[in-house]
């Protein structure tokens, strides 16, 4: 099982000091955070894409390319890449490029984006979110698999004799996860292609995740990709950890109370009950995270959100230390002991290349 962190790239005032980091500072901090994730033994760093303040990450492949040069093992991913407002041709090019530069340490998570005004800035309409996601991905999928593509659709100019360059590394496209909170069509899309499904699993009730993953697994089997429990599932999660649970609650509460998205709303206690947010000791985070398996089954990737709501860099790095030293090693062991042998690990470039070779040999 893969463990990692994902960042939404928000620039938020630290409510305990009133200080807001500059864009430059926050961008550099995220680089430090990602590198530290590798140092403490995490597997994945995923970065969001936003085109509006207070977020900085409009250009994830730039950041991820920079990180690829400064890391060795870390798998670089997105959370999420906007499949609606980005041109699928540009996604095909950008991520194939990143795949080469990172020697295959890249996959991506596709999402629709929920910020209405962003769509028209890119000439799109949020009401066509699902059709955009469906058409754009169908094209992206072909661009990475067919050398010369002739294509016509509704949302972009037609392509004639187009070849997306560079070609995917070793002829194997990056693995794709489809992310959605509660649109069954996206679970269906992931199942149709035999791709991964990622449930946001933060800020929302676990019941959404449970329903979406169940649908994805059922349809994954329907489309002949394997048994339902062989589908590839990733989950988000939000944690704040201190050795003593009460210290975690006291330290995190002002960040929680003023956070974007849920701040000035429910209490920390209510929100922790209603969503997967866990604020407490390492053991509490371990127990809660293991409990995710009870409602989604054995899954392949767990990403934690640890750097939002204005938390200072030092605190975030401490969170990574605790995750790396006390939480993830236990989770790795416990999840591995529970997982049956026929449930696959999350695909990596190496495993996808091996699978492609095997397929070729069977054909030959």
């Amino acid at each position: 099982m893969q463990f990692g962190i994902f960042s939404v790239s928000d620039i938020t005032t630290d409510p305990t000091t009133g200080r807001t980091p500059t864009e430059h500072e926050r961008i550099k901090n995220v680089v430090t955070i990602a590198k530290h994730a590798e140092e403490v033994g995490l597997d994945v760093f995923a970065l969001g894409e936003h085109h509006n303040e207070p977020f900085f990450s409009s250009s994830p492949t730039t950041t991820l390319g920079y990180l690829a040069a400064q890391t060795d093992k870390l798998l670089l991913s997105t959370a999420t890449t906007l499949i609606t407002t980005n041109d699928p041709v540009k996604i095909a090019e950008d991520y194939a490029m990143l795949q080469h530069l990172s020697d295959g340490r890249v996959d991506l998570m596709l999402g629709r984006g929920n910020t209405g005004p962003v769509y028209p800035w890119f000439g799109k309409d949020i009401r066509a979110g699902i059709p955009l996601a469906v058409e754009n991905y169908a094209l992206l999928h072909r661009l990475w698999r067919e050398h010369v593509v002739d294509w016509q659709g509704k949302f972009r100019t037609p392509l004639q004799s187009f070849t997306s360059t560079p070609r995917p590394l070793d002829g194997v496209p990056p693995f794709v996860w489809h992310g959605s909170i509660r649109s069954p069509e996206i679970a269906e899309q992931a199942a149709y292609y035999g791709d991964g499904f990622f449930a946001n699993h933060i800020f929302w009730p676990a019941s959404h995740t449970q329903r979406m993953v169940a649908l994805y697994r059922e349809r994954f089997a329907h489309y002949g990709h394997g048994a339902p429990d062989q589908a590839v599932v990733g989950l988000g999660g939000q944690v704040f950890i201190r050795r003593n649970s009460q210290d975690a609650v006291e330290e995190f509460r002002p960040y929680f109370d003023n956070a974007p998205v849920y701040g000035h709303g429910p209490s920390l206690e209510d929100f922790s009950r209603e969503t997967p947010l866990t604020v407490g000791s390492p053991q509490q985070v371990i127990d809660r995270t293991l409990g995710f398996r009870d409602y989604v089954g054995d899954y392949q990737r767990q990403l934690f959100l640890v750097d939002h709501a204005g938390l200072p860099l030092k605190t975030v790095l401490e969170q990574l230390d605790i995750l790396g030293e006390e939480v993830v090693p236990v989770l790795r062991k416990e999840f591995a002991a529970l997982k049956p042998a026929h449930v696959p690990e999350a695909p990596t470039h190496a495993s996808l290349v091996a699978a492609a070779l095997e397929k070729d040999e069977v054909k030959a």
Partner: protein, 203 residues
């Protein structure tokens, strides 16, 4: 007898509240009227006062928790709704509106709804017609013709043709008749697929 569900939404804030009092009289009359159509109402009363914090949280977080989740599910599954608000600043109360702001926009489609309001004086009575009825029309509810307004004076008036009691009986009869004409409500599963992926791919 055909079992049907009736959800009563009351936005009164004081305890005891005249809004709740009106709601109680309306649903009692609706239960009585329904029996004449061979319909037995299973009544759920939702006091919005108890859900005020949950409603504000939902506006901020985008999802309902706990009792609000149950209340919204009850509204969606209801065969009929009675909605009663106090008049605040020349309209429905903000709490009343906020609740309907978080009701799923399809939850009331073709659903019989009886609207009612309370206020200090009869000068507010058109609030039912210029505020509540258009809001429910937007939600594509079927609002029964008689809307019931109760001012302070009404509670002291005797029985007769134009009294509060007579309006309650008439409105309750209209609601029961609308319910008796309809099949029981079936709630669509929001996580169910409505189109195959091949159809989606065709655009």
């Amino acid at each position: 007898m055909n079992q049907r569900s009736l959800v009563v939404i009351t936005a009164g804030l004081s305890q005891p509240s005249s809004t709740r009092l009106l709601a109680d009289q309306l649903f009692a009359a609706a239960v009585a009227a329904a029996t004449r159509h061979d319909v037995a109402f299973d009544v759920t009363v939702i006091e919005l006062r108890d859900l005020a914090h949950h409603i504000a949280d939902h506006l901020l977080t985008g999802f309902p928790r706990g009792e609000l989740r149950e209340a919204l599910a009850a509204v969606a599954a209801a065969d009929a709704v009675i909605a009663v608000t106090p008049v605040f600043t020349a309209s429905y109360s903000g709490l009343f509106k906020s609740f309907f702001d978080v009701v799923d926009r399809d939850a009331l489609t073709d659903k019989p709804v009886l609207i009612a309001a309370t206020a200090g004086t009869a000068r507010h009575s058109l609030v039912l017609e210029h505020a509540l009825r258009p809001m429910f029309a937007y939600l594509r509810a079927v609002v029964v013709p008689t809307a019931v307004f109760a001012a302070s004076d009404d509670w002291g008036a005797g029985s007769g043709e134009n009294t509060l009691r007579a309006r309650i009986t008439r409105a309750a009869g209209e609601l029961a008749r609308e319910v008796s004409r309809r099949e029981p409500v079936a709630v669509a599963d929001p996580f169910a697929l409505t189109a195959s992926f091949e159809d989606l791919l065709k655009g």
